[in-house]
């Protein structure tokens, strides 16, 4: 899932400073699962916006609603139902994709981001999420025992570990695992540690976004 966190309230209050009415729009996708921008978090944010504005001596009407997702045209089209509400701006609690999609598709709608989009990850434990994938566009997981060196090695090394690996942890912090040590251990458990000796070639990072915004087109699905 995409993992995100709410922006500091001072930043959000500054965004809506001149608004009389805003629509806080939750997303029932990834940000609901990571408890950053679902319906519950949108209700909390609405309350905090009202309180923050009141503290600054201003009043604001805040309407709270949600969409199934904010990363699909068909769901963004559902925003038609709020058209008559006369809000000055949408405060989206979706990830950055949702904010972009609203901006792309609703030419007359001002949209502000309530979240900082952090990474693609999973829930390691309740209330804790960790980065697992960097979306680099050229997956090497079949060579690394299913553990990603691009997302989980601080240096994104393709031939690890480096000299900073100590007792299975990374030199940047003792709380951070050395994923290359984990890769070595895991490959070893399958009798494939020789895989570690294969030198990975210099990587072409153009698929990782270094060649500009990426796009996937499936001719079999387009109509």
């Amino acid at each position: 899932m995409i993992v995100a966190e709410r922006k500091p309230m001072a930043e959000i209050i500054e965004m809506v400073q001149d608004c009389k009415k805003v629509l806080v729009l939750a997303c029932r996708g990834c940000v609901t699962v990571c408890s950053a921008g679902g319906e519950r978090e949108a209700e909390i944010l609405s309350s905090l916006i009202r309180l923050g504005m009141k503290k600054g001596g201003k009043s604001i009407e805040v309407v709270t609603a949600s969409l199934v997702r904010q990363c699909d045209r068909e769901y963004i089209d559902e925003m038609d139902q709020f058209e008559d509400d006369g809000y000055d701006a949408v405060v989206s609690t979706a990830c950055g994709v949702g904010v972009n999609f609203i901006s792309n598709l609703r030419k007359d709608t001002m949209v502000y981001p309530a979240l900082n989009t952090s990474f693609m990850g999973g829930s390691a434990e309740q209330g804790e999420w960790t980065e697992q994938c960097a979306g680099c566009g050229d997956c090497v997981l079949h060579l690394t025992g299913g553990l990603c060196p691009v997302a989980r090695c601080a240096k994104s090394l393709m031939n690890g570990p480096c000299g900073g690996s100590v007792d299975g942890t990374c030199e940047i912090h003792s709380d951070v695992e050395c994923v290359w040590q984990s890769i070595y251990d895991r490959l070893g458990s399958f009798g494939k540690s020789a895989q570690m000796e294969v030198i990975a070639p210099i990587r072409d990072w153009s698929a990782a976004g270094h060649g500009g915004p990426r796009k996937v087109v499936r001719d079999d699905l387009t109509v």
Binding site: M9, A10, R40, I44, S47, L48, L51, K54, K55
Partner: protein, 137 residues
């Protein structure tokens, strides 16, 4: 500045039993502050962050929660969950530039205990010192 604070107390069914004694008059007799609006809930673990924030939106100068002892909650983890939500509200208040002490969590024994009244007085005194809520506009 002297003022009579409006305080909202969310208390679980078990720790607020004194409110039922003597047809509800015992708390008054023991000097429980009159400005505290007691809301009894089945379990403080049921309280949401929005519930606590709503109390501030509705004009409370301070909000506090009284739940079972951490290691003796009737619903096992209810009061621990409540404490986490109180902490989240406290953090949000500070983000908005408001004193975090306006919201508090107390873990108290169940049944009839003097601490229930003491904590009410403590909260009343604290909010009197802090003054009216900055959310009053």
């Amino acid at each position: 500045m002297s003022f009579d604070p409006a305080i909202t107390l969310f208390s679980c069914h078990y720790t607020s039993q004194q409110s039922c004694a003597e047809e509800g008059k015992e708390l008054e007799r023991l000097g429980f502050p009159a400005g505290i609006n007691l809301v009894r809930v089945a379990c403080t673990g049921k309280l949401q962050v929005t519930t606590l924030l709503k109390a501030f939106e509705d004009g409370a100068d301070g909000v506090y929660v009284v739940g079972c002892p951490e290691d003796g909650c009737h619903n096992v983890k209810g009061s621990i969950r409540a404490a986490k939500r109180v902490a989240a509200v406290r953090e949000a208040l500070v983000e908005l530039g408001v004193e975090g002490e306006r919201v508090e969590m107390y873990h108290l024994p169940r049944g009839l205990h003097p601490e229930f009244v003491e904590k009410g007085k403590e909260m009343d005194s604290r909010i009197r010192e802090l003054g009216p809520s900055p959310f009053q506009g």
